[in-house]
């Protein structure tokens, strides 16, 4: 399955921090404005990437980044 992972992290600063952590760990990451304002807590930013979702979430949590939601979009 080719899946795009979107992790909503709230602020732009959180997204930038998350991006750097994931880049360091070999992920290819982009920052996007969160699309679903009905879910979670409203506006904010997400990091979007492909690869091992669980490992990525673990890395972000370890760095103290607040994760608001994680969603997976199947591209296959």
């Amino acid at each position: 399955m080719l899946a795009e992972i979107t992790v909503k992290v709230g602020s732009i600063t959180n997204a930038q921090k998350a991006k750097r952590i994931l880049l360091k760990n070999g992920y290819s990451v982009t920052i996007k404005r969160a699309e679903q304002i009905k879910k979670g807590d409203g506006c904010g930013y997400s990091v979007v990437f492909f690869g091992d979702k669980q490992n990525a979430v673990k890395l972000l949590k370890k760095a103290g980044i607040k994760i608001i939601s994680v969603s997976t979009y199947d591209l296959s």
């Binding site: 732009i12 600063t13 996007k32 506006c43």
Partner: protein, 381 residues
């Protein structure tokens, strides 16, 4: 024009700062942390880079603990009003700026905060520490002190004060307005909980920039509002820096600050310190023995100081001396410099002092011309 008022704000700035400021307005024109389009993200990236640089420069482990503010005074307010509760006791040095004193006086009158001062011995750190130690009470929650006096340049032993605060379970907040960018400051090694900064001085940023560094998550907010995040909620975000960064940021100023930090690192802070203080030493050497000149600190006895020199001439009002120098194109500041406590300490509360504050860009010719003009004023006596 010879600009010797760098304690108020630095001028000139490195050319890289001007360039960064110009480019910021032109190319990073979108509101950071608000939009999802390319320029907004690119502008946010510039802000984040500055946050990373500032954190590294001041020995702060977490970049989100760097909060951008409109001024150092704003940062001081954030700490005082964020930390203190009715009944708390605060200790400040007897050299503090009104940015500290007025906030505390307000809190004393309206929030039942108590505060006292401890005495700074210009030449003996042990005496300063003893004075602080003697002033601790069971209610002391916060020590707030300047790193370097904006009137006298005298430095406080912040690392030793930090250790003492740590031993006593007291929070240490430092006003680094006069020292940042000239004298190294390290959050962890100096045991500082909160550092309030005026980047438009030693970091060569434009005016309208300020910074608070430290774990501001435990501070109550001073302002609330839009952050571009968590916007369904009527409550302020509970993460940094959003908790304390409501409203649009001074993007141009912050990006220019980044260039200022780069310039300092490229030049070397030790080199900057040597150049800045050499000018003050030259002034002091030339004027200290003049019959009608009063100086207030023996610079030779200080192991470290910020590039500030205060003096008076006989009974002339300090403002009159500054006006006479201004007529010769020399920009200095006179009066109380918003620091009446310091003037009370040196006995100049009724007349103030003339303050000369140099920078890396001050030249020997600037100093020699200034000395010559001050000596010309002495011919009146």
């Amino acid at each position: 024009m010879i600009y010797l008022d760098n304690s108020a704000t630095s001028y000139p700035k490195p050319k890289e700062v001007y360039e960064a400021y110009k480019n910021a307005i032109k190319y990073y024109h979108s509101n950071p942390g608000r939009g999802g389009y390319e320029n907004s993200i690119a502008t946010s990236e510039k802000i984040y880079e500055t946050r990373l640089k500032a954190a590294a420069f001041f020995g702060e482990e977490k970049e989100e603990n760097v909060i951008f503010t409109p001024s150092c005074t704003f940062a001081v307010n954030m700490v005082m009003k964020g930390v203190l509760n009715p009944g708390d006791h605060v200790l400040i040095s007897d050299l503090e700026h009104n940015a500290v004193v007025r906030v505390l006086e307000h809190l004393r009158r309206y929030n039942s905060i108590k505060y006292d001062t401890f005495s700074v011995d210009f030449y003996d750190d042990i005496k300063t520490l003893q004075s602080l130690k003697n002033a601790f009470t069971a209610q002391t929650k916060l020590v707030f002190c300047t790193h370097a006096s904006n009137v006298l340049g005298v430095c406080l032993p912040i690392r030793k004060i930090g250790m003492l605060c740590k031993q006593n379970g007291v929070i240490l907040a430092v006003d680094g307005a006069q020292s940042a960018g000239i004298i190294p400051i390290h959050m962890k090694n100096d045991h500082i909980d909160y550092l309030c900064l005026a980047p438009h001085k030693g970091l060569f940023a434009p005016m309208g920039t300020g910074m608070l560094i430290g774990d501001a998550l435990r501070l109550k907010t001073v302002i609330e509002g839009g952050t571009g995040s968590q916007s369904r909620s009527f409550l302020q975000p509970d993460y940094l820096p959003d908790k304390h960064e409501s409203g649009t940021q001074n993007t141009g100023g912050i990006i220019a600050m980044s260039a200022g930090i780069d310039w300092i690192q490229k030049t070397g802070i030790e080199k900057i310190y040597r150049a800045d203080t050499a000018h003050i030493k030259a002034l002091w050497q030339a004027l200290k023995d003049e019959a009608h000149i009063q100086t207030y600190v023996n610079i030779e006895k200080l192991h470290q100081f910020a590039p500030v020199f205060s003096f008076n001439i006989k009974n002339m009002p300090s403002e009159m001396i500054a006006q006479m120098l201004a007529k010769q194109g020399i920009c200095v500041r006179a009066g109380l410099h918003c620091a009446p406590l310091a003037h009370q300490k040196i006995g100049t509360l009724d007349r103030g002092t003339v303050r000369i504050s140099s920078s890396f860009f001050t030249t020997n010719n600037d100093i020699n011309y200034t000395i010559s003009n001050i000596k010309n004023l002495l011919l009146n006596f």
